[in-house]
Amino acid sequence: MKRRDFLKSVSGLAAGAALPAVPSVISSAYADARSETLLIVSEGGPNNLDIHGVGTNVPGYEVSWNCYDRLISHEMKSGPGGVPYYDRDKFKGELAEDFRIDDMSVTFKLRKNAKFHDGTPVTAKDVKWSLDRAVSVGGFPTFQMSAGSLTKPEQFVVIDDHTVRVDFLKKDKLTIPDLAVIVPCIVNSELVKKNASEKDPWGLEFTKQQTAGSGAYKVTKWTAGTEVIMERNDDWVCGPLPKIKRVIWRMVPQAGNRRALLERGDADISYELPNKDFQEMKANGKLNVVSLPFSNGIQYIGMNVTKPPFDNPKVRQAVAYALPYQKIMDAVMFGLANPMFGAPKDKPTEVAWPQPHKYNTDMDKAKALLAEAGYANGFETTISFDLNFAGVNEPLCVLVQESLAQIGIKATINKVPGANWRTELNKKEMPLFTNVFSGWLDYPEYFFYWCYHGNNSVFNTMSYKSAEMDKFIDGARTAAATGDKAAYDADVKGFIDLAYTDVPRIPLYQPFVNVAMQKNVSGYQYWFHRRLDYRALAKG
């Protein structure tokens, strides 16, 4: 068949041309003992190996976390169910062997024997360059740095080869925690500068394709959308040498297949499976399933308070009484979430977040409130959700729709494609919607600053503005920075109470991060970024 030969030679030519671009790194791979290799399967993979890049996605964070070091990191504590959980309040040095926090600055002493993957030592100028880069590149990294009042390159001062000082612009309790998130990672500045260009002074194109860090792992092969292969960096000095020698991370788009791979024992770890699968795997006990609540995260129903009918607090309270909370917990989440509703009437507000509100499903109360607000016959509206998370959002919205119909609110479901969801959120026009927010930094005022403050950030999806609320939030931030505990507690309780009387958004539950792994895999740790830390994992 001539036609086939012809096609073959065409694609052959094309592939031949691609040869120099794809070095075959994993030769003699199958000789490796399986016990030192971890096979991870997940739905999506990274689009960029550098968290400073343009539009790096969440899987990309996992690569950055494991392949780069930061100055400091968190200690571990025992979390729910005895699973190691990062300790929000305790920090330890990572690249820094020691650090001292003064009134308006923090000084880091770097480990003298730390080396980048190419063998060059990690010095203070690398640290300065990397932090400068994080506050200068724009987009998400710069935004995340600013959350801890880290905004100017002048804040990062080189004292000597192994000492760096970070100056505070103002007192902010979030500055130190913000230095322990994924973004302020330390990059091999000489290597990257060599590969930078005038158009790309920070060398983002270079670090997009390869890791240039000092971390415990380095990427040896990355085929976008297919797999990432990481090898252990045997010269890593910032912690005990990891047990896993190599990590193979494969993208398997089909959730059913990921489950099959786990149950057959072919894959070691997977996440991003439907809740139902996790619940069934938990029940049959062949695998270890770890479920931990998202720190500082809540799925909620939001209402646009700028337009009728949701500008009326009575209507919002009516909706809060009409939601089928328990049904959502059972039929959508299969119990894999912490309820955020139905706290006892007399329970005092705590200085903690998230915490449940006192609404419960009560149709009579809902009807009465709606009548009081002048909508005895109900009204029509639309409820929107992000199709990227349709597995949870769709059944959830159907249940809400059904429930609201009972008090006369006719809601049409509006499915928004994932690519469009953020645009829609930014427009702030959707009347009724469901969404998740979770903050890396686990502080109530951080959550409220983004979600309820009158500066109307993108996460204040309800366009909620209240002078009283702003006063509480700003007050708590100041009190936190100055260490005024009494004022802080009063303000935190104040904003939580106000958020629950005004109910611009109705918390439903605190979702769980679910990770399923083989019985012989141990050492899983929960991190604020909710991705895997390979350094602690072990097999066998």
């Binding site: 036609r3 096609l7 694609s11 592939a15 671009a21 539009g55 494969r250 057959r264 894959a267 494609p417």
Partner: protein, 337 residues
């Protein structure tokens, strides 16, 4: 012959220009804002604008278009935002994966469908005719992802005969050095029999899934075309002349019935190449179908444009090859062309 090829290629140019314009406009008309998408969940309005500027999306449409065509002329398809790679490289790397799968699927399909069609045509109304009807109907009515999932469930999960549906090779094997991009060929060139067996066993289920789906058009077309030819006068003459049934069917009837079958094959092939998206999803196959769909979901313009353009070029080439094949099979076509 060469002038014919040249002429055909000339005709293809306007349609390619059309494809470039239409895909450009269509991708821009898609809902969704790539800048907002790639600015990340925590982006402020300013951050979104910054990204928009970086991506050149703040420029007027006409300027974006000229920039795009200029890049195309230099062989630059742009960068994918979701995978972060140049589109041309990705398509080059992924096309062989899709082509290998599709070709194997097609070969399996032909190997089953053509004999089935021929047998059904020679014995209309017999059990083999009914078998042909039932299998083809079942094949088209089962959606590919369903067939794929059932096969995975039975042969991997239940029986354990098939390897894990993890793409082109078992994770613990290394990919052969790229020569053709077809693992079955490359592993043999590299004399790596183990890897060849792994690549083959990975291919069996997805190729079978595709074959089941594409059985119907080929078998039905073979049957119909054979029936028409078998009823014609020269076959009657051949039979009357006392030629053996085998000679009549294979040498005389089959060759003449080939033309419509070839046309169907070309359609099935191009259509499978584009439509095996679902099979690629089910088997985590690193092909171009799944690539294009993922790009579409995230409003990632460049890969979608690159994909459509590649497909358009493939269609043009495929049609050209088919036309040449017609000439080989039927000399009359050559004279007219």
């Amino acid at each position: 012959m060469l002038t014919m090829i040249g002429k055909r290629l000339m005709f293809a140019i306007p349609s390619l220009i059309g494809v470039v314009i239409v895909t450009f406009l269509l991708t821009r008309a898609l809902p969704g804002d790539p800048a907002a998408y790639f600015a990340g969940p925590a982006a402020t309005k300013e951050a979104v604008e910054q990204i928009r500027k970086k991506l050149g999306l703040d420029k007027p449409l006409i300027e974006q278009f000229f920039r795009y065509t200029n890049d195309l002329a230099h062989g630059d398809f742009g960068n994918s935002l979701t995978t972060g790679q140049p589109v041309a490289t990705e398509i080059r790397n992924r096309l062989p994966a899709s082509a290998e799968l599709t070709l194997l699927g097609l070969i399996v399909s032909i190997a089953i469908a053509i004999p089935l069609g021929v047998l059904a045509a020679t014995r209309p109304g017999s059990w083999i005719d009914h078998l042909c009807r039932v299998t083809t109907t079942a094949g088209v009515s089962l959606p590919v992802f369903f067939t794929g999932l059932v096969l995975v469930y039975v042969f991997y999960f239940r029986l354990g005969w098939s390897p894990a549906p993890l793409g082109r090779l078992d994770v613990f094997y290394s990919a052969p050095p790229t020569v053709t991009g077809f693992y079955l060929i490359d592993t043999l060139l590299a004399r790596d029999v183990e890897a060849f067996r792994s690549a083959l066993s990975q291919l069996i289920l997805p190729a079978t899934t595709l074959a089941i789906f594409s059985l119907a058009p080929i078998a039905r077309m073979t049957r119909a075309s054979m029936l028409a030819v078998l009823a014609s006068e020269f076959v009657r003459t051949a039979r009357a002349s006392g030629l053996s049934p085998a000679t009549v069917i294979v040498t005389y009837a089959f060759r003449n019935a080939m033309l419509p079958v070839i046309t169907t094959l070309s359609m099935v092939f191009s259509f499978l190449l584009g439509a095996n998206v679902l099979v690629e999803k089910v088997f985590a196959w690193p092909g171009i179908g799944s690539y294009a769909v993922e790009a579409l979901i995230s409003s990632d313009f460049a890969p979608v444009q690159g994909f459509v353009l590649t497909m358009a070029v493939m269609y043009v080439l495929l049609n050209l090859v088919i036309d040449i094949l017609y000439g080989v099979i039927d000399p009359r076509v050559r004279l007219e062309g």
